[in-house]
Amino acid sequence: MSTLAVQDHGVAHHEEGHEHHHDTFLTKYVFSQDHKMIAKQFLITGITMAVIAMLLSILFRIQLAYPDKTFPLLETLLGRFAPEGRLDPEFYLSLVTIHGTIMVFFVLTAGLSGTFSNLLIPLQVGARDMASPFINMLSYWFFLTACVIMLSSFFVQKGPAGPGWTIYPPLSALPQAMKGSGLGMTLWLISMVCFVASSLMGGINYVSTVLNMRTNGMDLWKMPLTIWAFFLTAILGVLSFPVLVAGVVLLIFDRSFGTSFYLSDIVVNGQVMPFEGGSPILFQHLFWFLGHPEVYIVIMPAMGISSEVMSVNSRKPIFGYHAMVYSLIGITVLSFIVWGHHMFITGMNPFLGGVFMITTLIIAVPSAVKTFNWLATLWRGNIRFTPAMLFAVGMVSFFISGGLTGIFLGNAALDINLHDTYFVVAHFHLVMGSAAIFGMLAGVYHWFPKMFGRLMDEKLGYLHFWLTFIGAYLVFFPMHFMGLDGVPRRYYAFTEFASMQRWLSVNMFITWAAIMSACAQVAFLYNFIHSIFWGKEATQNPWQANTLEWTTPVERIHGNWPGEIPSVYRWPYDYSKPGAEEDFIPQTTPLSETMSSNVPHDFEDNPAGLEALSKWSSTQKANEEVK
């Protein structure tokens, strides 16, 4: 067997250490280099950050719903940030900023990619661990550091950063301009540098593991869509995150060392500043050069997870596997040339705006293809409603609803009136926020047995799904219409505008829907924690899935497979193949064992196999005639 040949020295080293390896608590749970443990660390940190960011959002939703009521409790909880029981306007902006930052970067980037790339890449490509387990560990520790620094900014005198998650200078560069541009902003920038370091270490590891450490037979076109998605996401991150660092470093220079990269012609509070020759638009270019790929960094893993989960639970191959991969590649490439659609009306050259509009609407095509392929995957399936399946389907529903509004925003002429209104808030919370969170939750429910060896409770999963799904639509759907009425985002209150008063009741409704959805997350948290310790014990392959991770034993060992790493002989989506005994054929089953179910398509670039198949079927026919 040639299986071993695939393995590199890292594994050999590992196998040596296997017998006399005694994990202490510290090496097993804290400074672990095992990809499965690191995945769990990312997941639990990610969930913690998600809960924090969610609570922050409830705080500012309360302000929006009851702008002229006081809540003495808030003062008790927040002190100077909520004098007289009402949020301070600057603190409101800080809440919005930190909510956005945590959700986009810490939950949906690190929490999502960090968890599932780490967990699934080695397990699904058949490797014993990541290419560099040590860098992998560092990646987590940089991430945790970033989280701690970000949260610590709540404890500085002037509060956390407040210029929005996009931190446009000059607002973010001038401490005189707002409280949230003081020390809080410095901490934000430091935290983000740590975060990017973590992302890069993770990304490089994912790319090299996928490229170099696939098991025997696992060629690129046999990889599950999850792996394709994580792989392309990692490439996207590795190429775009450094640009954010560049932008951030220049901003640090402007803030602390008196340079003028982004600043020019500024008079603050009647005081003429010495900056000259910089351009605030430059920062926006640098930011969105990362920022737009970032939204796809967030959604692509969710797409991969949903594809996998939907295929398994429809008991059907994913429809158009090649198209799914090519559309992911298309999205990856195109997402580098559309960033300007966030800047149509910033003063960028209008002609450039026109070009960005063309590229932006092109990116909607691969997105549409993916959607149709998901629908076709469900068609004539045999759908099992596990909670993971529901969340995957919910992801598709959100992606459709939010993606369609992208067509409005991508049209520069329409964006004139929609930019920075609640319409944009509705758009990205559906297409990115909700869809990606649902992809992540689908992953958590689906691979929980691979992480903890137990199953989560299905009924609670159902409850969690429906409350969250309905809640998210109730929260975000009405926001479209606020946007169409010209209601801007990032407003502390709508009380100053007679024309916006009528949206107050809608705001109240949205806030209560948000509170309901937040409460629904308790069902998840309870289920998650309870199931880790007391859940039903899982079997080896609880979902009857084809991919490699389900060939590993339930008790997640170091090195993943006790013996040799299995070889792979087929693509991962042979579900309900006619002529097969069961409705699934694992990737490790050679085609020679499944003669009755093979189809010519299985041998597309394997003429010998095709010949064998035709020989087999002709003898089969002959046999039948004899009978």
Partner: protein
């Protein structure tokens, strides 16, 4: 056994109901008393009530869960299959589809009618037409795809008797649904591109009457307006000159500056082309005039423009929206600090006559006080002398 549990839990439920009612009573009483005191303290009772309410909900859910589990087990003991969760979820999907579609319809009709009135500018009409086209196309796609998604879920819910249909791909249909969106988007892009180019064109075409130039400058947290005087030209500005009463940093060495006018309200003559010159002093702001479909960021160090033609006077719009107090507004739409949420200016579109009368009453920027401050020339000096001197300096 399951039955007994159910009875027990019913008692429990009744108890909880009573508890909740009394809780609400308490809460009401509490609000009354807190109103009476001058500085309200934390309403711990209210807080406690909400927490209890949540706990009650949790307990109820736990009880229902237990009942379901017991029922399932008892069915299994009897050799039956238990609850068909796949069927239940399939049915809920269908219900969600119907209710959700109705909800979307309701939202679009009710809240959709609360959105902005018709565009009050020339280019705005074109934008609205394009908006309508895009809405129709996307709504069709939205309805079809969501219906397919949820009916498939219901229709193809799990059954032990059936096997899924093995369909790995179908090149024809995949090509079809790549090409159709591509065509539709191409059409949208082409229309969008040309509209965008026209809308953004802020230079005056030769031969056409020059547009009215108005300066608007954003700073934390207000807008400053500058109208040209009788010469129709706005003078130069330089941020280094912003000091004292010359807040905008107007360069009074430029002769065009001498007669520039200050205004509180953005008054615009109807059907006349306006060119807004947009500036910011401290951070980025954004000039947003949604009724005119106008938005352009105000960026420090980077002057921007927006050219548009208002077509409906404020009076007319008041009649159209049936609101005698209606005003067009200009407000900030780029996060700029604590006062961002209240950085507005009234915009009034009037007839040319009304505009002329209004402009005649405006005061120049170069007030006598400013004159002395800048030591340009003593206030009592004749204006023509000043102008001569400046002309010589040029």
């Amino acid at each position: 056994m399951a039955f007994k549990k159910m009875i027990n839990s019913k008692k429990l439920l009744a108890f909880l109901a009573v508890f909740m009612l009394s809780g609400t009573n308490l809460l009401m009483a509490q609000t009354v008393t807190t109103d009476a005191t001058a500085k309200p303290g934390v309403n711990w009772l209210g807080v406690g009530f909400y927490i209890l309410l949540f706990l009650v909900a949790a307990v109820v859910i736990a009880i229902i869960g237990k009942i379901l589990k017991v029922y399932d087990l008892s069915q299994q003991i009897k050799g039956k299959k238990g609850i068909h969760w796949n069927t239940i979820m399939g049915v809920i999907c269908l219900i969600f589809l119907v209710v959700g579609m109705y909800g979307a319809y309701w939202d679009i009709t009710v809240q959709g009618s609360m959105t902005l009135p018709e565009a009050a500018s020339k280019h705005g009409v074109r934008i609205d037409a394009m908006f309508l086209t895009t809405t129709i196309i996307t709504l069709i796609v939205f309805v079809i795809t969501q219906i397919l998604l949820f009916t498939f879920l219901f229709r193809y819910r799990h059954s032990d008797k059936r096997r899924a249909y093995f369909l790995p791909h179908n090149n024809t249909i995949e090509k079809v649904w790549t090409i159709i969106p591509a065509i539709v988007l191409t059409v949208l892009v082409i229309f969008g591109f040309f509209t965008w180019q026209d809308v953004e064109n802020s230079s005056d075409i030769k031969g056409q009457p020059a547009s009215l130039n108005i300066d608007i400058t954003g700073h934390q947290f207000a807008w400053e307006l500058r109208y040209p005087g009788p010469d129709g030209k706005l003078g130069k500005k330089d941020f280094r000159l912003s000091a004292g009463s010359n807040k905008l940093g107007i360069d009074f060495k430029d002769i065009n500056s001498m007669d520039d006018l200050q205004a509180d309200t953005l008054v615009l003559p109807v059907n006349k082309t306006i060119r807004l010159n947009i500036f910011a002093q401290d951070v980025i702001h954004s000039v947003y005039m949604p009724h005119f479909r106008v938005q352009q960021n105000a960026v420090p160090g980077l002057p921007t423009f927006f050219k548009f033609t208002p077509t409906i006077t404020t009076e007319e719009m008041r009649r159209k929206v049936d609101d005698p107090k209606f005003e067009y507004l200009l407000y900030c739409n780029k996060i700029c600090g604590s006062g961002h949420y209240n950085m507005q200016k009234v915009v009034r579109v009037v007839t040319q006559d009304e505009y002329n009368q209004w402009v005649a009453k405006l005061k120049p920027y170069l007030t006598p006080a400013l004159r002395t401050e800048l030591k340009l020339a003593s206030a009592d000096q004749n204006k023509s002398i000043t102008q001569n001197r400046l002309a010589l300096n040029n």
